[in-house]
């Protein structure tokens, strides 16, 4: 579903790569957690996958479409929720969702059905006619999530989705991810919350200093580290081994 081959990114003026020769494959129908310390390269990777940054080297393939040569088809396969959704403050929630629906070509009846479902689930139905600027951070997250799911994307990408959410909303987010995967789609998300990753992910990848240092199921990671009873936190700390701050 998502394939990164030798993807490298160095920011202007930096002497080290933010993402360094990254190879990664996210399989269809799995929830993949992308972990790493601050500045490890998680957000840079995600921004390259969604087209917000251009990779210096390497290839990104989304649902069989090369992002460089066929960006529109690749982007059609993605639903993206950034860590801090930057939505038009002077539009109503519904106007924003209709924009997304039109851009992705979701027809009226389908749009209505899905909006009823997601807005009801997020308890946004009564607020969706209000201006986005009146929304709380959590409401904006939920609105962005609704927009990202409106076209039922084969690949759902979330950057730090749990930041700023109350426990109830966080629980809802996790349910949505599971539901999306049960429908045959794929979820790729970055997080700092290791418990969430451990609980939710089929596989995790750990990135540090721009390089993928571990990738697999929890059992595979435990086996690889030789610590049968370890939890993800211990494994993470051991693998990243006081990795200092670096380019994000």
């Amino acid at each position: 579903m998502l394939k990164l081959e030798g993807v490298t990114k160095r920011y202007k003026g930096a002497s080290v790569n933010a993402v360094d020769n990254l190879d990664l494959e996210v399989r269809p129908g799995e929830i993949f957690g992308f972990l790493g310390p601050n500045g490890a390269g998680k957000t840079t990777t995600i921004r390259m996958v969604v087209g917000l940054l251009a990779a210096d080297r390497g290839r990104i393939v989304v649902n069989g479409h090369d992002l460089a040569s066929d960006p529109i088809a690749a982007k059609r396969s993605i639903g993206f929720v950034p860590d801090n959704p930057n939505l038009y403050p002077k539009l109503t929630g519904l106007e924003y969702l209709n924009l997304i629906g039109d851009v992705y070509g979701v027809d009226g009846p389908t749009r209505k059905r899905r909006l009823d479902h997601y807005l009801g689930m997020f308890e946004l139905t009564s607020a969706v006619g209000d201006l986005v600027q009146s929304f709380s951070r959590g409401m904006k997250q939920k609105l962005a999530l609704t927009g990202a799911l409106l076209h039922e994307p084969p690949l759902f990408i979330l950057d730090e989705p749990m930041v700023g959410l109350d426990p109830r909303s966080a629980h809802l987010f996790k349910s949505i991810m599971r539901e999306h995967v049960h429908q045959g789609n794929t979820v790729f998300f970055s997080t700092h919350v290791l418990e969430v990753a451990e609980q939710l992910c089929d596989r995790v990848g750990i990135i540090n200093k721009g390089q993928l240092i571990a990738c697999g199921t929890m059992d595979e990671l435990r086996r690889a580290s030789g610590r049968a009873g370890s939890n993800l936190e211990k494994l993470f700390l051991e693998l990243t081994d006081a990795g200092g701050d670096h380019e994000e």
Binding site: G13, P82, P85, N86, T92, L99, G105, T125, V128, L131
Partner: protein
């Protein structure tokens, strides 16, 4: 919940951007759904309507005069050319800033880029929003002009048809040229680490180049023996039209398309205009696909430190809170291209307009020859310079938007252990640092070329700084009354801020009043009184502002 049926994505993108840009959804939400502040649109319409009607009447009358003047030498459609030229040049000049803001400095790009949209679709929708605003302005200017001309010339249906096509085609070319320049500029500057500085310098330079280009064209137009030139212009059919139209040739096509709409010449000119507009749009479309996204992504990428170990000299010298806040005020303004491009343009534009005509011409032919010291009695220059300093602090919009520019970061300054009086004082100092440097950067080259005395310049700068500081205090207080804090795009905090417009008006009115006082003093031949008057005005204004700040600022600060 009303869910829209599916629409064309370019159309829906255009509508969404339009609603966001002009606050249409917000207006509908507040005025109709919430029924809040319903008096606001009425006040705005009531305030603007007389000015708009007066403006349209002026255009109507002016067109008649121009028609009659043109008729005397057989070129009555000079009036049409005048209108086309005005709106085209305004579109080119102001359009550049509008498109660069819409294309590269808007905050929605993070959201739009991951969507499956072609670059030309994003570019096209954003250009269409700017174009819509331009059509609105053109409608107010061109409707009375074209209607009056049509009535005077007894124009027929062909004229109306031609006018409709010209109306839609006319802004396309200047805005496309402005867009191409903006896309190329941003592609170039985004290759550098210092993109903010380069954007600022590049934008300001481009303005100087545009002004220089116009001056060059106009000076070429008037070169040679004026009598011979005028004879040639009047003897050739459309000679004057073509000469004036050299400034922007498509305006000639527009004028001739309408004036000769009953002949093949008119339709041929219309074809030229439409074809040129189409070609410009095609170039923009091509650049949009090839260059726009790269420039945009490079701009969004930002830059990082080198990562190499560097010796950093940590400044451990403590400063007073006033200087610390003042320094923050000036730095934050000049480092953000969204603020700086709009605020600093006057410091470059006015001296450029004064200096550029001097090249290639003797001082006698220069419209600014009056600025030469030997033409001015003593103290008049100092007084003029002082008023320039004062006016520029209003034009820079720094004090008039000082609290508005804090936006969602206002909490930072609110959480400092400083009183609002101290904060305003610091903000005035910060604004004056920029104002003094900005004014001197423009004034010193003019002073050198015109041979001004250093004492006149120093006296003018001193008096000007006092006047400007007092005005800045008032403008900061005015902004504190109702700061515009809910912006996302920094350009809106300065360009769409009513406080900045009011500040500019106050600057003009105060400058006019003091200018009239100076004029009267010159008439009484009491020139030595000019600096004393200005000093007294600065002190009186300063004391009044100090009183107002003490009385009202704490309450206003608490209310935000």
């Amino acid at each position: 919940m009303r869910v829209a049926t599916m629409r064309n994505r370019l159309w829906t993108l255009y509508l969404t951007l339009l609603k966001d840009h002009y606050g249409l959804s917000a207006a509908k939400y507040y005025y109709f759904k919430k029924r809040q502040r319903t008096w606001e649109p009425l006040v705005i319409v009531a305030g603007l309507a007389p000015a708009v009607v007066m403006g349209m009447v002026f255009v109507w009358n002016f067109t008649e005069k121009l028609f009659m003047a043109g008729l005397t030498f057989g070129q009555p459609h000079l009036a049409l050319l005048n209108g086309a030229l005005m709106v085209s040049l305004a579109g080119l000049f102001f359009g550049f800033f509008s498109v660069i803001t819409a294309f590269f400095f808007s905050s929605d790009l993070d959201m739009l880029v991951p969507l499956p949209l072609y670059s030309w679709e994003v570019l096209g929708a954003k250009l269409a929003v700017v174009l819509t605003g331009q059509y609105g302005i053109n409608l107010l200017i061109l409707t009375p002009l074209w209607a009056r001309y049509g009535l005077l010339a007894g124009a027929g249906a062909g004229y109306i048809l031609s006018a409709i096509v010209v109306f839609f085609a006319l802004p396309l070319l200047p805005l496309s040229i402005a867009s191409v320049l903006a896309v190329l500029l941003m592609r170039a500057v985004n290759l550098s680490r210092h993109k903010d500085k380069l954007t600022l310098v590049g934008g300001l330079l481009l303005v100087v180049v545009m002004v220089g280009f116009q001056v060059w064209l106009q000076s070429n137009l008037g070169s040679g023996d004026p009598e011979v030139v005028m004879e040639q212009l009047l003897s050739r059919a459309d000679g004057l039209i073509r000469a004036v139209g050299r400034v922007f040739p498509p305006s000639v096509w527009a004028a001739q398309a309408m004036a000769y709409s009953h002949t093949g010449v008119g339709w041929l000119n219309l074809l030229y205009l439409v074809a040129a507009s189409g070609a410009a749009l095609f170039v923009l479309y091509y650049l949009g696909e090839k260059v726009f996204l790269q420039g945009l992504l490079a701009g969004m990428e930002g830059t990082k430190g080198s990562g190499r170990a560097r010796k950093v000299s940590l400044s451990a010298q403590s400063r007073s809170p006033l200087l610390a806040v003042a320094s923050m005020e000036s730095k934050l303004f000049v480092r953000d291209p969204g603020f700086a491009l709009n605020g600093l343009i006057g410091y470059v534009l006015l001296p450029a307009m004064a200096l550029l005509p001097m090249f290639g011409q003797s001082l006698e032919n220069n419209p600014f020859e009056l600025l030469a010291l030997d033409q001015l009695p003593p103290f008049v220059l100092s007084g003029g310079l002082a008023l320039y300093f004062m006016f520029m602090t209003a034009m820079s919009m720094i004090p008039a938007t000082t609290f508005s520019r804090e936006g969602k970061y206002l909490w930072q300054i609110r959480s400092l252990p400083l009183s609002i009086e101290q904060i305003i004082a610091a903000k005035v100092v910060g604004s004056q640092v920029v104002n003094i440097i900005g004014c001197l950067v423009g004034a010193v080259p003019v002073a050198i070329l015109m041979g001004w005395s250093i004492w006149e310049v120093l006296l003018g700068s001193f008096l000007g700084t006092l006047l400007a500081s007092a005005l800045a205090g008032f403008l900061a207080l005015f902004d504190l009354r109702k700061p515009m804090l809910d912006w996302v795009n920094p350009v809106k905090a300065v360009k769409s801020n009513l406080n900045a417009v009011v500040g500019l008006l106050i600057g003009v009115i105060l400058g006019f009043a003091l200018g009239m006082l100076m004029f009267a003093t010159i008439g009484l031949e009491l020139l030595w009184l000019i600096p004393i008057e200005l000093l007294a005005a600065a002190l009186a204004l300063g004391l009044a502002v100090r009183f107002m700040v003490r009385k009202w600022a704490p309450g206003l600060w608490k209310r935000i």
